[in-house]
Symmetry: C2
Subunit: 467 residues, 2 copies
């Protein structure tokens, strides 16, 4: 186990050396506090110094210095993660990418863009709009591209466009020893050597630090439709998800809200939702005829599966209206629990196991008698359970419930974390999910970061081996 004794403290000499690399550096308590915790409920911890590099070579130079001096380095995007992924739990250097947030080049006819890691995906898409292109993964919050890559974030439209890992072609990465390498290729097709690109994607800054990325872009769809269907039972709703996926239709979003959530949203925001399990769907197409035909197929499937309400539209304003409840759900939930926190669960399973997973969560919720709201990226077999809690005892209890759900998901052939990464929150489940492969992950960590300076305390359980 890494203890803080394995690392060296930041001395005035090291501060001076850091300042030679970049003048954008702070040890002010206000800055340290601002970077002590992400949006999760995991305990905050302060770094000893914050640095804001402005170019890749500075990142590499800082890592080289930190590696020589055995100082932990934790990369930081904008802190929207929810598993404690960028909490500097061993102190040391927190490296913020706030000042590396530029678009380097739009390769419009390749549907690609090269960016610095600190740009927010919403800010990126605002700038890409003029090209008729967009970066598809959308985790909700305005996460940075670097953070999304590091955690392999996903979101609502992953069912059609894939997760972040499916939408990156090339990266520049700074290694622990200060080397700068390029991985991947701007060629969409490549079979030249080991896929280092995907080794660094999702490694949460524990193998290297992403300093530049070339992303795949998608043409903004000409036409979109939306459909919302309500079902008497959650079983019927979830079986409809399986049926829609099995129909050969290609939904751009396929989201589930359970009855408890629909009722909650109505009470909190007077949304007029049917108070039953609801599916939200979106379809993209290049032609009106195909959009119409797709909606007709969806309506037939939903009715066959026993939908008691079905509304669909091809009108943009009406689509936003229909989807408003889904988009606003998280914000309404937070706003409606003043003085409480929200503990957020994230698991995913093969779609055929989704009904069993959802049934299990409902059953355990009722047995435990706790408040829990579900919404999920159902088309991907991904579910989030939101647990409001008001005190430490409730927090401990919800963590236990979360662990039960995670273990059930793994038992069903699924994963402990669909799109939030491992961070500190899911580390203990890694060996349950991956078994003997965790030793291989550790050996790669040891190879690329022998001193363990890169985002220590993340991904791997902390009570057995050095990483």
């Amino acid at each position: 186990m890494i203890s803080s004794a394995a690392f060296q403290p930041i001395t005035p000499e090291i501060l001076a050396q850091l300042t030679q690399i970049t003048s954008n550096i702070s040890t002010a308590k206000a800055d340290l506090d601002l970077h002590a915790k992400d949006q999760s409920q995991h305990p905050a911890h302060s770094a000893e110094v914050i640095v804001w590099p402005t170019e890749a070579q500075q990142v590499a130079d800082i890592l080289r210095l930190a590696n020589e001096q055995r100082i932990p380095v934790t990369p930081w995007g904008v802190g929207t993660s929810v598993e404690g992924n960028p909490i500097p739990i061993y102190g040391g250097i927190l490296m913020s990418f706030e000042r590396m947030n530029n678009i380097i080049k739009v390769h419009a006819s390749d549907f690609q863009v090269t960016v610095q890691p600190g740009i927010g995906h919403k800010d990126l898409n605002a700038q890409l709009a003029r090209y008729g292109l967009f970066f598809a993964p959308d985790p909700g919050a305005n996460a940075t591209i670097g953070g999304m890559l590091a955690n392999n974030a996903a979101g609502i439209r992953t069912v059609k466009y894939g997760a972040t890992k499916d939408n990156v072609l090339k990266m520049q990465v700074a290694l622990a020893d200060g080397r700068l390498i390029e991985v991947g290729s701007r060629s969409v097709k490549q079979s030249a050597g080991y896929d280092l690109l995907h080794l660094f994607v999702g490694s949460e800054g524990t193998l290297g630090v992403i300093t530049e990325a070339t992303l795949k872009l998608i043409p903004v769809p000409t036409l979109m439709s939306a459909a919302v269907a309500g079902f008497e039972t959650i079983e019927a709703a979830v079986e409809t998800v399986v049926a829609v996926r099995g129909s050969g239709l290609d939904p751009a979003a396929l989201e589930l809200i359970d009855a408890a959530n629909a009722k909650f949203l109505n009470n909190a925001a007077n949304l007029g939702l049917p108070e039953m399990p609801i599916l939200f769907m979106e379809f993209h197409a290049a032609h009106e005829a195909s959009l119409e035909a797709g909606l007709e197929t969806v309506r037939e499937i939903c009715e066959d599966m026993g939908a008691v309400s079905f509304r669909a539209t091809m009108d943009a304003a009406e689509r936003k209206n229909l989807w408003h409840a889904r988009h606003a759900a998280y914000e309404i939930m937070v706003r409606s629990h003043p003085g409480q926190h929200i503990y957020l669960n994230d698991v995913a399973v093969p779609i055929s196991a989704y009904p069993e997973l959802i049934a299990y969560i409902e059953q355990r919720r009722d047995e435990r008698g706790v408040v829990a709201y579900m919404f999920g990226h159902a088309g991907d077999g991904n579910i989030h359970v939101f647990f409001p809690f008001a005190n430490d005892a409730e927090y401990q209890d919800r963590q236990q419930f979360n662990a039960e759900i995670v273990m059930k998901a793994i038992e069903l052939g699924g994963t402990a974390t669909g799109e939030h990464g491992v961070g500190v929150g899911k580390a203990k489940f890694l060996p349950v999910e991956h078994g003997a492969a965790v030793a291989v992950m550790r050996s790669i960590k040891q190879t690329l970061d022998p001193n363990g300076i890169l985002n220590p305390g993340k991904i791997f359980p902390q009570d057995d081996l050095p990483f």
Copy 2:
């Protein structure tokens, strides 16, 4: 550099130990000869013994023995590769997966199938037809799934459905030291730890041996259309590729044949093709209306770009007829060069650089005055140049031409190998393409295969470092 001196020969004692693991073993010259070379022009080399394991534990046990005894092990699918990928150039054990060719389980409602690595993708698809599902990557030959995974094979429909790496979710892998691990997840969404799955995919058996794989499947499209367009200049054809890709249409195939190739095919097989650069396109849709609308858009684009001929159809028989030339091109080419060999080039670039790459190849072909036929997966920026040759001098010359094309592709931001892997043929280009990242690849190789027994002599150039 590994020399054969680094490895131990197969002794009678080792043969006896291998026989205890599996009785499916041969040292007969006929068997050794059958496994001495793939379909490439790279020099043949015989293994010392062939083994045909029938289960994963046997694979692991053989590797453990080979690792302890310092004996090279080269995995073998069915030998359809074209860069010498499975040639046992240091002798030792050739491990054929011919007898591990079963479907383990069809997960029909997940659109997944779990298979042993020795099954041919065409055989797999024949068995999947009853489920209305198919495995999309199609490299042409009936390559095994294990070989396709090891080389990250791609093919005609990659423009819509991705390469092999995009169509695998989970694998079981035997490591050099005899450990069996599982990587990836049947959950389509996962962000739990390092992406070992994609580290092993495309590693050509040099990091581990794939013993089982769960693949993504696609619903067989309800409706397909085809279009064939001829252009006066290759520039116009290639710019049309960029325009079709930029239109937001989603072709399932977008293939280019150059004028030399069209003329050759007419002469050889009387196909009645327009003797000019030709684009072959295929579209898949769930509704006739969308298929019709798509074809209309394609026709408009082609005519805007100056197409002098355009034929399109939604009829299945007519589609096969239209596409016959493209599907039969390789076979016709081989058949029409009796006594000659075909040297096959494979590079890919970002689509915006495709016109410059194609122009360069044409220019150099004319300057060199050699016969060369192009056909390419144009929608992916991927081109194959076929060089017939009759003797060693011509072979050397075509290799040199190949090297020029590869260097140009890399200069244009592309790759030395789009879909054929590195093998022995592309190893020397790896440092040109990947620079300092090659050292990272080597360190991972060293970590997972410290004795270098796994498919030695592949991927890495052989004249500098131990791997």
